[in-house]
Amino acid sequence: MTAAVPFSARATKSSRPQKAPPNLATTSTATVSVDQTPPGLRIEDLALRYGDRTIFEHLNLTLNGGEFVVLLGASGVGKTSLLKIVAGLSTPAEGRVVATDGLPLSHRIAYMGQQDLLYPWLNTVQNVMLGSRLRGEKGDHERALHLLGRVGLGDRAKALPSELSGGMRQRAAIARTLYEDRPIVLMDEPFSALDSFTRARVQDLAAELLQGRTALLITHDPLEACRLGHHLVVLSGHPAKLGPPITIRGQTPRAPDDEELLHTQGRLMRQLTELEPK
């Protein structure tokens, strides 16, 4: 059984009429260099099994370059496992994940986990430059400071993570993700630990700063999905299947009272609750 999700046909027409093309979007945010349309991501016939238990199988999903796709699902449905496979952190039982331009994915993916994962022994700016440190490269201090300024932490560069609030830590994590300057960004419920007001602000920031990149966000929060995603897919069932894609029009981040958003959110809630066993 196959839940193929062909976004390619609809995407350009329906979802992004108001949105500037990726290269323009980057010049306006002027942060980092995503020179041309980033590569898309194709998940082909993916399966994950633990022993006899099949978490999911025959998963197919295509993300076009520069699209923000949100994968929704209840806890325990295999969202995180799926994202870890895409990130190259674990191997699937079957199937593969490739870039749409045919080049290898390695070195082109940035990952944001469920926690901010700031290293407690490094200060904020050192955390932003973590990738350089780990690869034994010289850190680009100036760019890191610039990015911290972009997320509103310009004056906290020397602070330890323990001295930052939850929202600040998550913003520092966004700066760290941007510092990596990779065309594909994977996010695993990165804002779930924040209170709803802080969450909304950090979502705005993420939507703005990640424009022009191919993003896959997983979440169990329909509101978050509707605010940020160009396309939404629901992962549900045992073994889990991907539902038909839902496309939301309009520019992201959407206001929480956006009509399109409210409509889709209601539909999603219904779909998610109906699909889960009672």
Binding site: A87, L89, A110, Y111, Y119, W121, L134, G136, S162
Partner: protein
């Protein structure tokens, strides 16, 4: 009262009260002075024997510090070996357990026989005593690295060596520090036990000799210096560790 004043005064007050109790008991209870010397006679012994006590302290401190240093290196290396090599884990773990199962007191005569009356046997003794707490704490710390930290490092294309030096090692430092604190507290035990069994200098040797001659006041003086040395060493190590681990605050202090 300012907190730092209070923390400085508290041990002094405890000491004064203990001295007062001790002075009263030794004066009024009728216990003979060769069994329980008065604080005054101990103070006199401290002053009169200061040269001998100082050189003995130097010996014991050197043995303890050398044992601590070598034992820490050895403990840290074996922790790394255990964590990174299943082969080493199979072969080293039983050895470690045996080294702890045999009391160091039982080994002491043999070690003195093998390594002589000089410092070497005491240093070996101290190493044996502290080796295990270091290895146990550090290997535990190395194993408990946050999986998220490791995942993040892998997506950033970190090499295994880089993950060790930039992720696992720093993350294990608080655990290593608690192992080192335990080791610092017990390292003098190893040195002194070695001196009891056979030595030509050191505080343990002084105590043993004074005991044989029923010079209880000298023995108390040596014991006092030993306690002072052990506590100073611990405080020093604790301070250094706290400064190095500034990022791992003691959360109980905030509660």
């Amino acid at each position: 009262m300012k907190p730092y004043l209070a923390s400085g005064l508290r041990p002094v007050m405890t000491l004064l009260v203990l001295l007062a109790v001790w002075a009263t008991v030794s004066k009024t209870s009728g216990i003979q002075t060769f069994l329980l010397p008065t604080p005054k006679s101990v103070a006199i012994a401290l002053w009169e024997q200061r040269g001998m006590l100082a050189s003995s302290t130097a010996t014991t401190l050197t043995e303890t510090a050398l044992g601590l240093l070598l034992g820490t290196i050895l403990g840290a290396v074996s922790a790394l070996a255990i964590v990174y090599s299943p082969f080493m884990q199979r072969w080293l773990m039983p050895l470690l357990l045996i080294s702890q199962a045999i009391p160091v007191f039982a080994l002491a005569p043999l070690l003195v026989l093998w390594f002589g009356f000089g410092m070497a046997s005491k240093v070996v003794m101290a190493i044996i005593v502290i080796f295990f707490p270091i290895t146990a704490a550090f290997s535990d710390g190395l194993r408990r690295t946050d999986l998220g930290f490791l995942d993040l490092a892998r997506t950033m294309n970190a090499s295994p060596l880089s993950i060790l030096s930039h992720v696992r090692l720093p993350a294990a430092m608080p655990a290593f520090a608690s192992g080192l604190r335990v080791a610092t507290a017990i390292a003098p035990i190893g040195a002194v036990v070695g001196e009891w069994v056979g030595a030509s200098s050191g505080l343990g040797y002084v105590m043993l000799n004074a005991n044989a001659r029923i010079e209880t006041d000298v023995m108390f003086a040596a014991l006092f210096v030993l306690a002072l040395m052990a506590i100073s060493l611990w405080v020093l190590v604790d301070r250094v560790l706290k400064r190095l681990l500034f990022w791992a605050p003691d959360t109980t202090a905030m509660a």
